[in-house]
Amino acid sequence: MRVVLAEDLFLLRDGLTRTLQDHGFDVIAAVDNGPALLRTLLQEEPDVAVVDIRLPPTFTDEGLQAALEARRSRPALPVLVLSQYVDQLYAHELLAGGEGAIGYLLKDRITHTTQFVDAVRTVAAGGTVMDPQVIARLLARSDARGTTAELTPRELDVLRLMAEGRSNAAVAGALFISESAVAKHTAAIFTKLRIEPSADDNRRVLAVLAYLKR
């Protein structure tokens, strides 16, 4: 799987490259600034891009802008965005296209290698991965407004993991319950939140997020 990497700190760039290579990814380019990232994304057409939000030359949201710009000419280009902080506004901008194949994670999550690599794979496969912090805040918010008040604590757990882009099997593993139990909870959540059920994991997460961010 061909990966383009954008990260301005040499140590992190090096570490990320090694981690991805160890897990069988082919890191075709590792750049350290916004303009180079945009150029590479448009020329190389990678299977997935792993992008730090803050990049030179402006050291603001150069990486995010380059990723969004690249997705304008190549919709659904899989991009996993990493950042020292997560912001709902950025999450909204990333999800605004509605095509999926988007990931948005705190940089800390890199330290959990398997979860990070899973996230890269999910995004490359067209899935959506949101950082637990984003999900937690969305849930807290919709809870305060009463939209998820009907859900049981267990269903909330399932919803949270689902929104993080995990499959039913992964959710079952994380909560130590059976896969069929997860399926049952999922059906209950969709009914309570009045979301049309769908077999597609990606659309499922998008539907949840779309519902939560209303």
Binding site: I53, R54, T60, D61, Q84, Y85, D87, Q88, L89, Y90, H92, D108, T111, H112, R137, A140, R141, A144, R145, K213
Partner: protein, 439 residues
Amino acid sequence: MTRRQVGMAAQGTRRRPGIRGVPADIGRCQLLSLAAFAVSGAGALVIGALLLLPVGVGFLLLPPAATVLRRMSDRYRDRAARRTGTVISPPRPLPPLPTGPGGRGRRALALLGDAGFWHDLRWAWAEPWTGALLAAGPPALVWYGLFGAAVQPFVWRRLGEGNWYAFVLVDSTTGMLAALVLGLGFTAAGLRLAPAVLRLHARWSGRLLAAPYTTELVRRIEHLAGSRADVLDVQAAELRRIERDLHDGAQARLVALGMTLDEATRLLDHDLPAARALLQEVRATSQRALQDLRELVHGVLPPILADRGLGDAVRSLALDSHLDVHVEAALPGRLPAPVESAGYFAVAELLANAAKHSGAPEVRIRLGHTAGVLRVTVADEGRGGADPDGSGLRGLRRRIEPFDGTLVLHSPRGGPTTATLEIPCASSLPKTSSSSGTG
């Protein structure tokens, strides 16, 4: 109604709802012209006291005379502010009575050196000539007009020849009708002129009564010194907080991290499961340290604010809020960093207040930058009754005071609440953001 202003707008106007309308304005003109006699009386008193200074009696008379005059000028300033909204900055209070022997004499001498006292006297001399004459114009027109319109038709027959009304010779029915029309014209002109004359009078009084320039400067310097001291305090407190947070938070966790790593290394040889457990602990600790640092950074300068500027940072706040927050931002570009920061934390505070106290489900935030002033309004339809002296709002004022910023809180009991924040500043960098968002 709770209405509070800070900063330079602290001496804001208070409009008292009085009798409105043109007849009331005529009455006011009349009163002003009559009041001018009282002013000239007070002025004469002061001049008398001044003339009596060589014989010594003046030293006793001057302070009370000056006090009477000051009371009168204060009343004028107050009235100008109430009626026309023209704020006239008052001079410094008159010098107080020094203690000890010869206090009265020394007070009189202090008065002679006080710029405000001479300003008062100048005004007392000018008001009867300029102010009173000006104010007397409209009533005179009205009275003379009424005389022409209401009295001439009845009296012209008895007066016989040579009866002139203004420039009309009234010795026939035609002349009488002309006088009638002219009289009505005068009355109308008088009525018409009254409000303008009142405004003119207020502006003229403002010129004469405004605090001397040096007083203004001293006041400004005092304000600046005060707000600078505040800024230094706030800054020192902030540094202390950052130091403490780093010391007790991230730094302590990193030390613990090192120790745990060391322990894990030692265990690697003979107790692999224990070493693994420790290493997992290391990861958890490192994440907590990161979380600490992240919160610290957010408290110093929210990254979204640094990245995107005020508009998007407020949108992000809106998305995080439990309330339905509508943001309309029309900012021409990036504002100076300190202003963005002050604006951001102010909005965060106001939003938190709305969430905590208003009970309203919806908040509207409007950001605009016109004529070199950043204007932020945060409005909700909640229950109102916000306390302008709550700790949060006091902190907010301290943040915007160094910029000469103002906060006007309008929050009557029963709602709605509108907070308007204004910070003078120029904008930079033509990077626009003008869409609106909902969260």
